[in-house]
């Protein structure tokens, strides 16, 4: 019985995933747009903002399911943003995506670190893994 229920729940989650809202943060417009397009192809709903400040404003306005933020940005890094987010919404998953291969020392506030060169497939797989883990822990 229990297994049946879990399977049903999992199906629901899979269905839900298509309505998942991701907030994308990056100071560079073109990479941000392309990332949004890739995620949309994957079935996510995507909102984009160009800075950490804007991201915090959006989050205060309405909830999202996941934040995908660039690391190196003027006016506040991705890890700083992750720290601010976790203070107010500790359950909200935050993923850092960076062009610099070295993990920043304060990366522990984020749920995951993705290198930009890993490519779109790996990025999508990791996002989906983080979302799945979040749902499992909130079951």
């Amino acid at each position: 019985m229990r297994i049946m229920r879990l399977a049903t729940r999992q199906r629901e989650l899979l269905l839900n995933e298509h309505k998942t809202l991701i907030l994308c943060v990056d100071d560079e417009e073109l990479p941000l747009t392309l990332r949004k397009l890739v995620l949309e192809k994957q079935g996510y709903t995507v909102e984009t903002v160009r800075s950490a400040t804007e991201a915090m404003r959006t989050l205060s306005d309405h909830p999202v399911d996941l934040v995908l933020t660039d690391q190196v940005m003027p006016g506040g890094t991705g890890t700083e943003l992750a720290q601010s987010i976790k203070k107010r919404w500790p359950e909200l998953p935050v993923i850092l995506i960076s062009g610099v291969n070295t993990i920043p020392p304060d990366a522990m506030y984020a749920d995951m670190f993705i290198s930009k060169v890993e490519g779109p497939a790996a990025m999508c797989a990791k996002i989906s893994a983080v979302l799945a883990a979040r749902r499992c822990s909130s079951l």
Binding site: E28, P31, K41, G99, N101, K116, E118, G119
Partner: protein, 531 residues
């Protein structure tokens, strides 16, 4: 001088009248006449003056002439002093006078004939003068000899001092003739080159030291001879084959047709400079890596995403999709290179327990197809699970690199031997994990050995980035470990072994010993013979 050259004549007689008459006879002899009235007085005066001849009356009261002569002969100073006895012609006296065989002795009989006395005295005076002259000459000669001896001694001391100084010098000091044959070789040279004096003297210097000149040997040698001196750096070989770089100063000595040479060892200095340059290059490399990582990776992601979207676009026909795929796969290659080489990407933030055995097996599985294609026989043995604290991704990168290089070095088959064991490290008091990867491939040329771990050094021309070993070394150094290698000729091929030493391994696990198994090729069980 004249006055002192005037000789003294001592006249001894108890009768003043006789003394006066002798004085008159000898007056024009140009001599000092000293008178004594008795033997005793005569002896006293003898001690005060240098007397050439003693005129001695035989018959005197108290001490007679013979007694005085005896006393004189006992004194070393007067043994040779001439004595002229004045005596009556008595047989006994004459016999006694003849008894004084040694020394100048004569007699005059009484009555004294003035001419005879004068003649006899003057013979003695002349004799004395001559012997005194001779003595003087002798003395002068002796003092001259002494002086010369002293001078020689001094210059010999000076030479010995200089020789000692040459031996004290830490520089190699050598002297050779124009054919290069060594005639001098100091202690500094023995220490620098390891050749003992007896092994090099008489041999040609450049043959022994295998000298490499900055210009060709002939022109360097002719410069020394033509200009009298030469300065420059030479690369030479010590007895044990070690390469030494020396700053050399050479001087040509025309008069002895020799070249004097002082060589200072600057090998360590050169190496330090080289290491510094290397460090600077690495630092520059790191800065470049950071810039590239940021400035390349950002647009790279955007382009990759664009191609990803393009490739999946429904409006594309097969040909256009094929082109998009080509572009995408080439981009993946760029992405792979920047990720693998520029910056050490760590997946986890904290080190975890990594079983190196698992990593090695993963890598071997990944390379399995290549092993079969290259007909490489694998022989591996883990004497420990090799668990260490670290980051699996970067360790995997190291072994992927080393094993990949080994496989690429054997395109026409060979043996790949992998060993992992722990070894106690006395210095740290902990066991080290040692992983050796040994191949029978192309080998490493000695001239490449020095540069193997340098960035952008590759022997694979267009195929390699030249960063693999540099990065591997960087990773292993983060673990306070080390990579070293050896490449030696073996059965007409080359045996190349890379050894990774990682400190802080957990002790060897029992039961894992001799866990022999092959991966990839099922027939790959033949083991590599031990070198």
């Amino acid at each position: 001088m004249k006055d002192t050259q005037k000789v003294n004549i001592l006249m001894v007689d108890d009768q003043p009248a006789k003394l006066l008459s002798y004085e008159a006879i000898l007056a024009n002899l140009d001599a000092n006449l000293i008178k004594a009235r008795s033997g005793r007085e005569g002896l006293e005066l003898l001690l005060k003056h240098d007397v050439a001849v003693v005129l001695l009356d035989v018959s005197m009261p108290e001490i007679n002439g013979f007694e005085m002569a005896d006393m004189m002969r006992q004194h070393p100073r007067f043994q040779k002093t001439a004595i002229l006895f004045i005596s009556a012609v008595r047989m006994s006296d004459l016999d006694r006078i003849r008894g004084y065989q040694s020394g100048a002795v004569d007699y005059i009989s009484v009555p004294v004939v003035p001419e005879v006395l004068k003649a006899k005295v003057s013979v003695f005076v002349e004799l004395h003068r001559k012997s005194r002259e001779l003595e003087h000459l002798n003395r002068e000669l002796e003092s001259r000899v002494d002086q010369r001896t002293r001078e020689l001694q001094e210059s010999e001391n000076l030479l010995r001092e200089r020789a000692d100084l040459l031996e004290l010098a830490s520089e190699a000091i050598l002297v050779r003739d124009l054919d290069g044959v060594l005639t001098y070789w100091n202690a500094g040279a023995e220490a620098l080159y390891g050749w003992e004096r007896s092994e090099v003297l008489g041999h040609a210097v450049h043959e022994r030291l295998d000298t490499r000149f900055p210009v060709d040997e002939a022109s360097s040698e002719s410069t020394v001879v033509a200009l009298g001196r030469w300065e420059g750096n030479l690369v030479q070989k010590a007895k044990d084959g070690r390469e030494v770089i020396v700053a050399s100063r050479q001087v040509f000595k025309k008069e002895v047709a020799s070249i004097l040479e002082i060589n200072r060892d600057i090998t360590a200095q050169r190496q330090a400079e080289e290491a510094l340059r290397q460090t600077e290059r690495l630092a520059a490399m790191g800065r470049v890596a950071g810039i590239i990582a940021h400035e390349i990776n950002n647009p790279l992601e955007a382009i990759t995403n664009a191609f990803y979207l393009l490739r999946n676009h429904p409006s594309l026909d097969d040909e256009a999709r094929y082109y998009a795929q080509l572009g995408e796969s080439e981009l993946a290659r760029v992405g792979h290179i920047t990720k693998q080489t520029l910056g050490f990407y760590r997946e986890s933030q904290h080190p975890v327990n990594v079983p190196v055995a698992e990593i090695l097996d993963d890598v071997l599985e990944l390379q399995g197809r290549q092993l079969v294609m290259n007909k490489i026989k694998l022989d591996k043995a883990y004497f420990t699970a090799g668990e260490i604290r670290g980051f699996p991704v970067e360790l995997r990168q190291v072994f992927l690199n080393l094993i990949g290089n080994a496989i690429q070095a054997m395109p026409d088959g060979g043996h790949l031997r992998i060993r992992m064991r722990t070894r106690w490290n006395e210095a740290t008091g902990k066991p080290d994990l040692r992983i050796s990867i040994c191949d029978t491939g192309a080998g490493i040329r000695p001239e490449h050995a020095k540069h193997l771990f340098e960035p952008f050094f590759t022997t694979k021309s267009t195929k390699g980035t030249g960063l693999g070993l540099w990065i591997s070394k960087g990773i292993i150094q983060k673990y306070d470990g080390n990579i070293h290698f050896r490449s030696i000729p073996w059965k007409g091929r080359n045996l190349t072994s890379f050894c990774v030493v990682l400190p802080g391994a957990s002790p060897a696990l029992k039961g894992l010993e001799h866990a022999h198994h092959a991966v990839g090729d099922e027939t790959a069980r033949a083991s590599v013979e031990r070198a």
